[in-house]
């Protein structure tokens, strides 16, 4: 008995010593082991190059910052620890990216957008782009929704969609609840809600960034909804035939109608000087029931919550809802957002392609979308958090803008005409008459 007790004491003391050593020996900042383990568990990516490769891979884009991508850099570094990846914003991106590609410091990977593929201005952008569908690159594109994959005339896939986006309205749910107003699910309900808020003392039921380019968020549903049903309309609109201006009339009438109902307060909207950042902060003031917003804009809300003193003081629940300007029910405009192209003249082309192969895995595409709070480009489209209201959208009402086939120039006509009507710069007829002449 005494021997057993003594052995127990000895075992206890040994255990304590071992515990103390293990506890003390643990690295105070060491989580690398866990990270490594995670990397192994990911399993979706297997390096194909020498993991000891040392090189630099640069990504340039229009985002001021891109922490979701930088998080992917960290993950990639778990496989290739000596590859230094960086993201740099280029001012006036759309105009300067081609120039940047011409320079000696040309980026290895660069942002590209769907609209660029339709424009001759960006021809060189895609001439320099690697064909990501090239089997030799072994990039698996099957996990990306086919409606988002862009192909050029030669059938090459010059860019990989990273995010998908949509348009809708940011809704201050608490404010609706507070005023006892239902969140609108149809055009009529939208007008009714605006009226109710006006009456309740909210002069700006819907906030919007009052520049022509932003009016796509307002008219997108109508524009693509109609076009998706009429291929002739698409042809005429894309051809910018003057007669096609009539296709804009239903849309412009509703814009005018909404203005008459006081849905928008142009003065307040004009106060938003620096785009979506101002829009979000103004929305966080708490007196705006709804704000026209793309998913790209909505993705920036979380980070700005603590930048808003008003929101910090009086937080409220909000989400992005479908904007319904028809009686056909809510719809989802499924369009690509940012896409990545690889500079095929990159000094580190193999590693740039390897990174794209890594990023194209479903795990990473979902992860980067989740981090960015944008909709993923993978096949299993799901909605949660900010985008939860879209889960009620009838799948038949998901409209792929790529499938509809409207060119960027065609949509510009709609956006500028709507801007002019909303701002009283033109009547509906005058705006229709200007079809084909509008530019941003």
């Amino acid at each position: 008995m005494r021997k057993t007790a003594a052995r127990c004491m000895l075992a206890l003391s040994m255990a304590l010593v071992v515990f103390a050593l293990v506890a003390c020996g643990a690295s105070p900042s060491g989580s690398s082991g866990a990270s490594s383990g995670q990397a192994e568990e990911q399993g979706g990516f297997t390096p194909s190059l020498d993991t000891a490769t040392k090189c630099r891979v640069s990504v340039v884009g229009s985002y001021d910052n891109f922490e979701a991508l930088e998080a992917e850099f960290d993950k990639f570094n778990e496989y290739y620890p000596d590859v230094e990846l960086s993201y740099t914003k280029i001012d006036d991106y759309n105009n300067l990216v081609s120039t940047a590609l011409d320079s000696e410091e040309a980026p290895d990977i660069y942002f590209a957008f769907e609209f660029m593929l339709d424009s001759d201005d960006y021809g060189t952008l895609f001439e320099r782009a690697e064909d990501l569908s090239d089997p030799a690159l072994n990039i698996d594109l099957s996990s990306v929704r086919s409606s988002l994959l862009c192909k050029d005339e030669s059938g090459a896939c010059p860019m990989l969609p990273i995010f998908s986006s949509t348009a809708g309205i940011l809704v201050n749910e608490d404010l609706f609840k507070k005023e006892g107003i239902d969140i609108p699910t149809s055009y009529e309900e939208l007008l009714a809600a605006c009226d109710a808020f006006n009456k309740a003392g909210y002069p700006t039921p819907i906030l919007g960034y009052n520049v022509p380019s932003s009016y796509g968020n307002l008219v997108g549903e109508l524009m693509y909804g109609d076009a998706s049903k009429d291929s002739t309309m698409v042809e005429k609109l894309n051809a910018l035939e003057p007669s096609a201006g009539e296709y804009m009339r239903p849309t412009l009438e509703k814009v005018s109608d909404m203005m008459e109902h006081g849905c928008f307060n142009i003065d307040v909207c004009n106060e938003l000087e620096d785009g979506y950042n101002a829009l979000i902060l103004r929305f966080f003031e708490g007196d705006i029931p709804m704000a026209l917003s793309s998913a790209d804009t909505a993705s920036g809300t979380a980070k700005r919550e603590n930048q808003s003193e008003a929101f910090s003081a009086s937080p409220f629940s909000y989400a992005l809802y479908p904007l319904t300007l028809t009686d056909e029910g809510a719809c989802l405009l499924d369009k690509s957002s940012v896409q990545f192209a690889v500079n095929k003249e990159s000094k580190n082309l193999d590693m740039a392609n390897e990174f794209m192969r890594f990023l194209a895995t479903p795990q990473e595409l979902n992860a980067i979308a989740s981090a960015k709070r944008l909709l993923p480009v993978t096949s299993g489209l799901s909605f949660d958090g900010l985008y939860a209201p879209f889960s009620s959208v009838d799948p038949a009402r998901i409209i792929s803008t790529r499938d509809v086939g409207l060119t960027d120039d065609a949509t510009i006509q709609f956006r500028v005409a709507a801007y002019q009507v909303a701002n009283g710069e033109a009547t509906i007829d005058e705006a229709i008459a200007g079809f084909g002449s509008y530019t941003l």
């Binding site: 206890l12 003391s13 910052n65 930088e70 001012d91 120039t99 011409d102 980070k303």
Partner: protein, 848 residues
């Protein structure tokens, strides 16, 4: 006891954990201090780099200012200005833009063509805006006018620009035009320049942020485009914290820890760039790089392991020590019990003979007139006294053995004497118990050996005494003494084997028979019990002499002890012995004796015939006699089965007459048959064993081959009239010795102490005393001192007088002490008169 044990263990564990905790805390504190030191050093490096940055900015601004001053010093068109700059601008990585600002066109010319072109120098900042506010452009010399980080519109590369205001003239109408000069430097080139200067910070990264915390230079580990946003993304901070951080970054140097994008701790050291307000240099380093190797975890692990080992060792040692203590306690208890037993035994063993002595003395005193009773009583008193003496000697010996003080005093001695002594000692008991006693010697080539004879005697006698003591009447005891070659030519190996048919010993007893006071108990031998010390002493002495002792015994069947001793051969001049042409017949039923005797006599040159039968001996002697070729000597054993020695002698005399000498040999005391043997015709007696010298002297004496003294040991008439001086402080002892000596006609003079003895000798004439018996322990002057003084007396004849120690100091070292002092011999008290007379005879024969 158990509780105390657990308490000790708990205290040990607590102390161990305490030490480990202390080591950990100390190591942690050391690590913290080390980190603090590294942080301070990192901050210092950052401040130094801030100065380098300031110098760089001032240098770049100086170039810009030089251009600005030159262009403004006289009217220049934009083409002339750009041409001038192009001519002085050699770096291919840098560019300069001259941008008109007075018409909001923000257009101008560049010194480098647009990327992808060779001659398109037009540049417009309309789309991106001027990267520096015009109103912020300071015109005084020394101020830094550097732009925010922006994209160079001519090549899409992130760049910085050092700026200056220009005043140009319009090429068309000569009017003044306001413009700004931008010295454009790619931030990548700046990043390459901002490399950490120390190898120890190879993992460190540098960033430069502007007043809005936007990166101008961005290290790889920095995320977001804005440092504050980066900080907020991975660290909990409220709005107030953000403002406080912004303020710190732009107003003071310092450092702070933050969590990076991987959730790891990192250190940010910052220093505002004094040359350009709002800019701050940020140095980043991983937290693990700071404390890496500063805490010696191996030391901590080592200490912990050592303590754990100590704990285990302590506990094991404590257990062992407790067990040892228990064992010692048991031993002490046993020793106490042994001591009590010892005292009890001693009391019993001493009182028994003392009782006999005192009782018999009383009987003798009361029957003084009855001579028979007195003689019987005195004989028994003598026996009891001898036993008492043996007991005392054994006690003293075992005391010395157990205290480790027993030492050996080697000297030259005769193994023959040892053997004879053994036979003599054995005789009384052999005779009393009618024991069949055989003593064989085998191959004793070297008579004189060099060892402690006293101890060898003691060992041999002990073993033999035990055999005789524990053998019942009618049993047998056999002794074999054999010489074997030693390990070296200078040594021999003596094997002494004593076998008896006695009571034997049980296995249990044999396990501790060498312990003191171990006695085999047996009802048959209770009356002959010994002291129980003999075997213990024997074993110790054999060990001391480097020998071995083995024992085979079976209860009820007998015991055999075998002692093996290696000892050197003494340097002794061998006596010239030869019996050439002597014809000898040996008759003995003992085959071993026949062989050994034949071997011995052969080696002496004699012609030997042997027979084991008395009848055959008679036939052989008769045949020789008939052939007129009688044997020169016939040696007949006394006890033979078919015909005893006396009968053989008697018949042989009748057969061959009286001319042939007949020697009767026996291992027994032949004093009882001496008369009848002489009557039968025996000429001489020899006691077994038959050593070479003994045989030689006996035969030689009978055949008168050489003259040999024929002195009877019991006849001391030859020494009568000698004069001895007895130095003895004890009157009784003096009287005893004096009376014993006077009984043999020896005169004695008494000296009360050593000094008196010295005085008497000094004042005497040479030859006045033949010998001195010197007690050792005496008042005034002890025997040792007295001997030394006597040996130093001026008269050499007196100084050389033989001196024999008579002392109760009976150990070998005492003997050695006496001999070293100059004495010639040593007799232990109680004095045996035979030894005294023997010593006197030696003086008489000048053998001392």
């Amino acid at each position: 006891m158990a509780n105390k044990r657990y308490l000790i263990i708990l205290v040990n564990v607590a102390v161990m954990l305490g030490i480990i905790s202390f080591v950990l805390l100390y190591a942690q504190r050391t690590a913290n201090e080390s980190i603090a030191s590294e942080v301070a050093q990192f901050e210092a490096v950052t401040v130094t780099m801030e100065q380098v940055t300031a110098n760089y900015l001032e240098g770049e601004q100086d170039i810009c200012d030089v251009w600005t001053r030159y262009i403004n010093s006289e009217p220049h068109t934009i083409d002339e200005a750009v041409s001038f700059i192009r001519s002085s601008h050699v770096s291919p990585d840098y560019a300069a833009h001259v941008i008109f600002t007075d018409d909001n066109s923000l257009e101008g010319l560049s010194t480098r063509p647009r990327a992808g072109t060779e001659d398109d120098y037009a540049v417009s900042y309309k789309a991106i805006g001027l990267p520096i506010r015009l109103e912020a452009l300071a015109e005084e010399d020394g101020s830094i006018n550097v732009s925010r980080s922006y994209t160079n519109p001519l090549n899409g590369v992130q760049s910085l620009a050092f700026c200056g205001r220009l005043s140009l003239v319009d090429a068309n109408d000569g009017s003044r035009r306001e413009a700004v000069l931008l010295r454009v430097i790619p931030t990548e080139k700046l990043t390459e320049k901002w490399v950490f200067p120390l190898d120890s910070y190879k993992d460190a990264e540098i960033s430069l942020i502007d007043i809005d915390s936007n990166y101008i230079i961005k290290g790889h580990e920095y995320k977001n485009s804005n440092f504050i946003e980066f900080y907020k993304s991975y660290n909990q901070v409220d709005a107030a914290g953000v403002e406080e951080l912004k303020t710190r970054l732009t107003t003071q140097s310092g450092s702070f820890f933050m969590t990076n994008s991987r959730g790891e701790q990192c250190l940010i050291a910052y220093a505002p760039v004094s040359a350009n307000h709002g800019w701050t240099i940020l140095n980043y380093i991983q937290g693990s790089s700071l404390d890496q190797g500063t805490v010696d975890w191996a030391l901590v692990a080592g200490v912990a392991s050592a303590l754990l080992f100590l704990l285990v060792f302590d506990m094991a040692f404590m257990n062992w020590f407790n067990a040892r203590l228990n064992e010692v306690a048991r031993e002490a208890e046993a020793a106490n019990r042994a001591k009590s037993d010892f005292l009890s035994t001693m009391s019993h063993d001493i009182r028994t003979p003392m009782n006999a002595i005192l009782g018999l003395t009383t009987i003798a005193q009361r029957n003084v007139d009855d001579q028979a009773i007195v003689e019987d009583s005195l004989r028994k008193i003598g026996l009891a006294g001898s036993h008492l003496l043996t007991l005392i000697n054994d006690i003293l010996d075992i005391s010395k053995v157990e205290s480790g003080k027993l030492s050996l005093t080697p000297a030259t001695f005769s193994i023959v004497e040892v053997a004879e002594n053994l036979v003599n000692i054995a005789q009384p008991m052999v005779k009393e118990k009618d024991i069949v006693f055989d003593f064989h010697t085998n191959a004793i080539e070297h008579e004189y050996l060099y060892a402690d004879q006293l101890r060898i005697n003691q060992v041999f006698i002990n073993i033999l005494s035990n055999a005789l003591k524990y053998t019942e009447a009618g049993g047998s005891v056999s002794v074999d003494l054999q010489e074997l070659p030693g390990d070296t030519p200078e040594t021999v190996r003596l094997v002494y084997r004593v076998a008896d048919t006695g009571m034997g010993m049980s296995d249990e007893f044999m396990e501790h028979m060498y312990e003191s006071f171990s006695r085999q108990t047996d009802s048959r031998v209770n009356k002959v019990q010994g002291t129980g010390l003999g075997l213990a002493i024997t074993k110790q002495m054999v060990d001391l002499m480097g020998g071995t002792i083995e024992c085979q015994s079976k209860l009820g069947e007998g015991t055999t002890f075998t002692i093996t001793l290696d000892m050197p051969v003494a340097e002794h001049e061998p006596e010239e012995m030869t019996l050439e042409s002597v014809d000898v017949l040996i008759v003995d039923d003992d085959e071993v004796l026949l062989q050994t005797a034949q071997y011995t006599l052969d080696s002496l040159g004699a012609s030997v015939e042997v027979t084991s039968s008395g009848a055959r001996a008679l036939e052989m002697a008769g045949e020789r006699h008939s052939a007129c070729d009688d044997y020169d000597v016939v040696i007949v054993d006394w006890k033979m089965p078919d015909m005893d020695g006396l009968e053989v002698v008697r018949r042989m005399r009748a057969l061959i007459g009286s001319q042939v000498p007949i020697i009767l040999v026996s291992a027994y005391d032949w004093s009882d048959i001496e008369e009848s043997a002489k009557d039968a015709g025996a000429n001489s007696f020899l006691s077994k064993p038959l050593f070479r010298s003994k045989l030689y002297h006996a035969i030689n004496g009978l055949l008168h081959l050489t003259s040999t003294p024929d002195v009877r040991e019991d006849d001391y008439s030859d020494i009568a009239g000698m004069r001895v001086l007895v130095a003895e402080d004890n009157d009784v002892n003096w009287q005893i010795l004096s009376m014993l000596l006077s009984m043999h006609g020896i005169e004695s003079t008494h000296a009360e102490n050593g000094q008196v003895a010295v005085d008497l000798l000094a004042s005497s004439q040479p030859g006045a005393y033949d010998l001195v018996f010197m007690d050792v322990q005496m008042p005034v002057m002890n025997g040792i001192e007295a001997t030394k003084v006597i040996r130093a007396l001026p008269d050499e004849r007196i100084a050389a007088i033989p001196i024999i120690a008579t002392t109760a100091d009976a150990f070998s070292e005492d003997v050695a002490l006496c001999l070293n002092a100059g004495m010639n011999g040593h007799i232990a008290k109680p004095i045996e008169i035979k030894l005294v007379l023997k010593e006197i005879r030696k003086v008489k024969e000048n053998k001392l």
